[in-house]
Symmetry: D2
């Protein structure tokens, strides 16, 4: 149960079979930093190419293809005082004949008060004045090495995770990834000080982060998509277009989880999900959209495994 303090020197714009920056073991904690989606570090200096550059990969000793990598998001928090957002909705989230109403892209800057936990617009924008929001820090893009020797852009997402932009990836959540490559190869990046559902302007409040995570290797087979767990709920993540398909992936993965680990039968699942399921929306901006299938723990029987 060691702690690795790691200061990144290089960043990756794909998740793939890159040379590991460090080795960790089951139960270890990693304390590191991430730069923002545009490649800017905690001093707001450009240190990597834009597009969710990733810290890592971390090689988790003992993780083999077919295993599950559990990543506890211990602490995610901005490490600088300035954040950036787009000020324009993405054209794909409005009606096609309305898209021409959208103005030209332009960025806004936010003052981050880390002590008080707020973000405040620096320049007024049209009628919104000194608009202030509470921080709700989350990781937009992170995951493991994809299957089949692929290296996949940090612009998109898949079974390996990637750019999911889900508000639920915050401190206190544990995320489970299928392991596709030896060592799993964990990547982290793209912190958001806060973000609306769907990331429909194409950004959260983009900012560099201090990140602390703890990893465990689980010798369980059967996980095909990212899963997650909080003190209150379990959830599964589907990444695809259209949203209908992302929802199919997430729902099927939840079905398998309830079957394999909770011993539920098909009609149990029909009743339980039919009357209790919740869906959360990750991004609807990237090439793959993200849908989350969630179930409150108090509706569940005791877990039989995992």
């Amino acid at each position: 149960m060691a702690t690795l303090r790691f200061q990144p020197q290089v960043y990756h714009n794909t998740l793939g079979p890159h040379t590991p920056v460090a080795h960790v073991s089951d139960g270890d904690t990693i304390i590191t930093t991430t730069i923002d989606a545009f490649g800017k570090d905690e001093n707001d200096r450009q240190v990597a190419a834009r597009g969710n550059p990733q810290t890592g990969p971390f090689y988790v000793d003992g993780a083999e293809p077919g295993d599950t990598l559990a990543v506890s998001l211990d602490r995610l928090y901005p490490n600088r005082d300035i954040g950036y957002t787009s000020t324009v909705l993405a054209p794909n989230v409005v009606d096609p004949d309305f898209a021409r109403e959208l103005p030209e892209p332009r960025m806004a800057r936010w003052q981050i008060d880390r002590a008080r936990g707020t973000a405040t617009l620096i320049e007024p924008i049209e009628r919104l004045g000194q608009f202030t929001l509470p921080l709700s820090p989350m990781l937009g893009c992170f995951g493991v090495c994809p299957p089949g020797g692929q290296a996949i852009s940090t612009a998109t997402a898949g079974t390996h995770g990637g750019n999911m932009d889900y508000r639920g990836f915050k401190s206190g959540t544990t995320v489970y990834f299928p392991v596709f490559a030896p060592g799993a190869l964990l990547f982290v990046g793209d912190g958001h000080a806060t973000q609306g559902d769907g990331e429909i302007s194409g950004t959260g409040i983009e900012i560099s982060f201090d990140v602390q995570v703890t990893v465990h290797v689980i010798k369980t087979t059967g996980i095909r998509w990212p899963r997650g767990e909080t003190s209150e709920a379990i959830f599964t993540v589907g990444n695809a277009r259209p949203l209908d398909q992302a929802l199919q992936h997430a729902t099927t993965e939840m079905y398998r989880w309830l079957t394999d680990d909770y011993g539920l039968g098909p009609r149990d699942i029909g009743v339980l999900l039919g009357q209790c399921v919740e869906y959360d929306l990750g991004n609807v901006f990237d090439p793959a959209y993200t849908m989350v299938c969630k179930l409150a723990k108090h509706t569940l029987p005791a877990r039989e495994r995992l």
Copy 2:
């Protein structure tokens, strides 16, 4: 500000230009009943054909095409002690190659304890035993006469409302519909004692309801899709497939609302929705899926009109 107590004799399986059952005026309250999605009344007797048979339509005097009909959902509550659900997920919410894993459709019955506010499975289903859920009553299918002289099945939804199966249509919510026909022609039906997001087994806990609503005619133009409001939030509703398009409709409608009634500019909206929007899922079972675009009132400036 009269109160109409109305006991339905006939029910409709389309929302369309049907003969009104009663006239009401701006500010009036309607107290009536609805039968369940299968056509069974408060005595569990079959009194209409299955498929969300509707009570109404109610002709609202003074409502003209181009106006908005506000429908306050004052009180929605089951009026019998038995409810029905499917026990099988819909094949369209799982991966296509997983659909064959689903068992044959069969129904389950629930005991409704209206005093305690709970629903309990009557027969055990596989591992789920005496499974109990709190009631969260909502209207699955309701709306107004569609545009252009259409009569549209209660199986689906559109700009006129219809079968949206959104958990947010509960007591305390006000719903706004575009008026397409003189008198608006309000229909109500398809009560659910509770339901998961997406209505992914094709049913909530289907049950007959006591319904009390209050109607207002608003001489505001510009509303194109159903909208809603609670003490905490405003929301818009898009009905279409795929979900991507339902989300486009709902987001565009919210954009128009923020422009027309809150005086916000396009970049205000980009920032506000980008960082604060929430999406809720109505059904992903019917021919048209339902997506809800929601914004907390505390993020909003003062409303300028409506």
Copy 3:
């Protein structure tokens, strides 16, 4: 085998249970006219509201719900010398971030030379000069009364037909519709002098038509979507969004046809469709998109029924 010559006086903008304009019998031929999508007749006079106004409905004696109505498109031809098209692509057929590149809608006029079978742009448009195309007349919107007492806008399509805008609906093709209402209630309208796949500018060359069709009632059950037949091929039609779903409907309907009428088994169908199927695109402009699943007759065994 009578021939009905019918001159329409009223037109419908929905397909629904409207009062029949005439009765015909199995084997009868109907000779009538249709007005263009904008409601203009053979003299280019506005005689009905825009939106594919329909001639009919014709009540086919003996057609009962569950039967099939065969409609032979004997002759479809423009009956005036002027046609209209949009000059701008629909925003939904280009990338969302490209939609703002499209100019404002404006119409172009075409001179129709019925003797030579050509259409020529009347005014030059940018670089295209006196652009001439061969006529390929087809019906954009036609069908029967929808199921369940619905009246559905001529803007869209469903199991009853409607606005499909498929180039294959031309002289010599026989179309099969499921019968949902007594008498089937046949509607015809929306002639195009020619049209590209997808109707991606939202119009063909819109024009009024002389129409001759012959109807037969087939006491076959099992047809759920429109089907068609030429001397060379059989085809099925799915109407839905997204195109993926329209394709699913059309393919499933073809699967049923091959099973029911050709006696093929599931692996026969897998091999035959897998290696021989063709897909044609109807419109991608309307609320429901249209996909056609087609199979050349020379690949088929002898038909066992129908």
Copy 4:
């Protein structure tokens, strides 16, 4: 204008920045072989892992990011006498509630008569007996190195080409790819003796090929998706889900081509595509579906460049 005869020793299951197997120059011809989708060579021996293993990559000297690589498909022909197909439709091409009707996957074998140009089922399948089809050889999966250092599975497709399964990729067609990496890095594989539209059983008649292609480097900027050309037509290719989006990509790419190389204005394009465009369907089986936007050359003005 040299000719490279290349016998592959290794194969790739991703298109990515792999070590080139050979260098060629502008105007050179490559004569090589491909193995089938299952990794079997001309002797029906397993020589690589299944999943469209690729021959290559070939480094084209002088090709730089931003250029266009033209690949003339000079000759594509089976080089063995046995081919394989699935006998079952993919569950994603039928209605979700119909998917359970599909039988278990099983393969069929075909005897290829290369002299006569036919494929004949070896074992009878249900009612189809000695079923024979004409050969129509085509490449299912080929392309160049993807952008951004990605390595993308041969199961899917993107702007770099990949697994498109389009019947139009046959002898006589020239394909244009955007160049994303120095040398372009051309891959070829996945020959089909013939195939239906959509590859809806998940296979064509899978077989090893002799392949002859000629490459040219074009210093033209602006191409974003694969394009193609025959003696009769030009076409563009979009790869995405749902089909609606693949169609948007292909149509937008055609719009750009008509603007950049044919000097057409937006209304020219609206009229020309609106009345003359054709769409062909590539696969609807892979993670990304493929739609082709095609225009007959006789409808086009003279090309101004390329």
